[in-house]
């Protein structure tokens, strides 16, 4: 069964057709499902997230998805500073300066956050005011922002 309803698919297809400019690559780091239940350890959402994103990128030829398994490619995960799965990195280094990531399954309202980020990346416009951009340009050392959310 599809995660994205037919109605939402139609809405997103139209938005992507109208608003996407440059191609956007989504890079997803996943961990294979454990076949063993370990008390205290929740099953991950790698599989659901992968399916959701596969459905999403199918809605525009400008979108692509690259999936990496952290257990098979630990060095690549380290290079991208990925410790949790699923981790979605939006855009590759050629189309952005900083790195927007989504950790966990982008479901519920948060799905829209990912869609808006994709559109911003494609336009090459983070959608911030001139004043904000000027202030952010003064940052010359690593700034790591964590935003905790829930799907509702």
């Amino acid at each position: 069964m599809a995660f994205i309803s037919l109605q939402d698919q139609e809405y997103l297809r139209r938005r992507f057709a109208d608003e996407l400019d440059q191609p956007v690559k989504l890079i997803l780091f996943v961990r294979p499902d454990l076949r063993l239940f370990i008390p205290g350890q929740q099953p991950g959402t790698s599989r659901e997230t992968r399916q959701l994103l596969e459905e999403l990128v199918a809605l525009s030829e400008k979108l692509s998805l690259e999936v990496h398994d952290v257990t098979a490619e630990p060095e690549l995960a380290r290079q991208h500073n990925v410790t949790l799965t699923p981790t979605l990195i939006m855009g590759d280094a050629t189309q952005r300066k900083g790195t927007p990531r989504f950790i966990g399954s982008p479901s519920g309202y948060e799905f829209l956050t990912v869609v808006e980020d994709i559109i911003d990346l494609s336009k090459g416009d983070p959608g911030l005011s001139e004043e904000t951009l000027t202030r952010l340009a003064t940052v010359t050392e690593p700034l790591h922002i964590l935003v905790f959310t829930t799907p509702t």
Binding site: F102, P106, P126, E131, T132, L136, H144
Partner: protein, 61 residues
């Protein structure tokens, strides 16, 4: 997206309870910057930037 030094991670808090516990997430959105500055709630853009930049501003000595 705007500066190469800035990384922003949106984290689904219910999926990573240990992390949410470590950062004492009681309400969302909760924002933590460089483990130094934290605040809760959606702020207007200018105030958000002001809060975020506190993490890299030098304290007067």
């Amino acid at each position: 997206m705007a500066n190469e030094h800035i990384t922003a991670d949106v984290i689904e808090a219910t999926e990573f309870p240990e992390l949410a516990d470590r950062y004492q997430v009681m309400a969302v959105p909760k924002i933590v910057v460089n483990d130094r500055v934290e605040f809760v709630g959606a702020l207007p853009e200018a105030q958000f930037v002001q809060q975020v930049l506190r993490a890299v501003q030098r304290q007067p000595t």
